[in-house]
Symmetry: C2
Subunit: 222 residues, 2 copies
């Protein structure tokens, strides 16, 4: 029986322009009202997750910066800004990338737009600076090593004392892969990347928020 | 004919616990798709308005900090943090107030919880520090003089070159009063304060997001 749902946001609960599905919002509220814990994890920043938590009416902690920071009544950052900031400065100085609007609100990651054609160069440099690079499908992020959505998943499993098979994860893009682990249940909307579909227990025929809504409305089948 | 709608958020598009009405979200998207400009103004912070703009899919600029700051593709602060921060420090040092979580994201205002029983003392001190005090119904704010939702309204009227009678404002609480000006159309949900009801062209029989949804679905009647 599923006791906790951990979902990605952009591309999973939204459409391809990041407009949030009101159907998904309704399903989320419905399953929370039925006693299931609902958490979200995104590459976006703490105040954005603060907004989603407030306006969706969620009570569980939510995770920002690909799992690196968490908001409940208070804010927790599990990683430091030191390495991401250092690498970002390096990229900027070499003309390889530009920062994004939300960087001013980040605690332990940096977002960037790569200079066209220089994407591989950035990936090649990351190891040297001991950082990880991920792409949400909406933007590129510089993370500390070990900072990913799998980290958020493990944190929730411990916090709520769950068995992995009591957890359903939902996502669509490559930065969701670290939470697509063997032991938990996994579902994806139709727009998900092939790598995620290959691992999923269930692939919705519907894309984006409609797919997530269908998944959320049939939790009993997991 | 209404060409622009400017609405408050908390208590107007949400319920009394700040959970956003999905019906209101749908109505907002519908009227924007019909060519009407939709903007929001709140006592909340820029990244929260950034989230609402993204996840509602709005294209107009939105206003934070009671009209003091604005987000479109970029962020603009029309006022400084100097006086609100100075007054807040004074309140804190005298044990009159505590800060709120969102203060770390503010550009030109401070939010506070007054020490119970000391509310009037705070109001009495504000003039001396040349700041205004307002209450959204959800929290107290320290603002620069002239920083209010009427400022945001005038900014939008200029920006979109509108006549005031082409603008509909919607709000529920006393910090919405500065935008309830003679020359614009005004509507309120059933939970609005009596002072706003007295000025409104239309008072919905429905409260909160349901009231706003009803108003938004009948723009032709204004």
């Amino acid at each position: 029986m599923i006791k906790l749902v951990l979902s990605d946001v952009d591309g999973t609960l939204t459409d391809n322009r990041r407009v949030f599905s009101t159907r998904a919002a309704e399903e989320i509220r419905k399953i929370q009202a039925h006693g299931i814990t609902v958490s979200l994890v995104s590459g976006n920043v703490i105040p954005v997750m603060y907004s989603l938590r407030t306006y969706l009416g969620l009570s569980a902690p939510l995770f920002a910066e690909n799992g690196g920071s968490m908001i409940a009544d208070d804010i927790t950052s599990f990683f430091s800004m030191e390495k991401p900031a250092l690498f970002f400065d390096h990229l900027q100085n070499k003309g390889l990338a530009r920062g994004i609007l939300t960087n001013r609100w980040r605690l332990c990651s940096m977002g960037y737009d790569p200079t066209p054609g220089r994407e591989r160069e950035i990936l090649a440099l990351a190891g040297e600076f001991q950082v990880d690079i991920t792409n949400s499908g909406f933007s590129w992020h510089i993370l500390n090593q070990g900072q990913n959505k799998g980290f958020a998943l493990l944190h929730l499993i411990k916090m709520f004392k769950l068995r992995p098979e009591e957890v359903l994860v939902i996502g669509d893009n490559l930065n969701d892969m670290p939470m697509f682990q063997e032991s938990v249940k996994k579902a994806v909307p139709a727009n998900a990347e092939p790598e995620l579909k290959a691992k999923a227990d269930y692939v919705s025929k519907l894309p984006y928020g409609d797919g997530a809504s269908e998944i959320l409305s049939s939790l009993d089948s997991f």
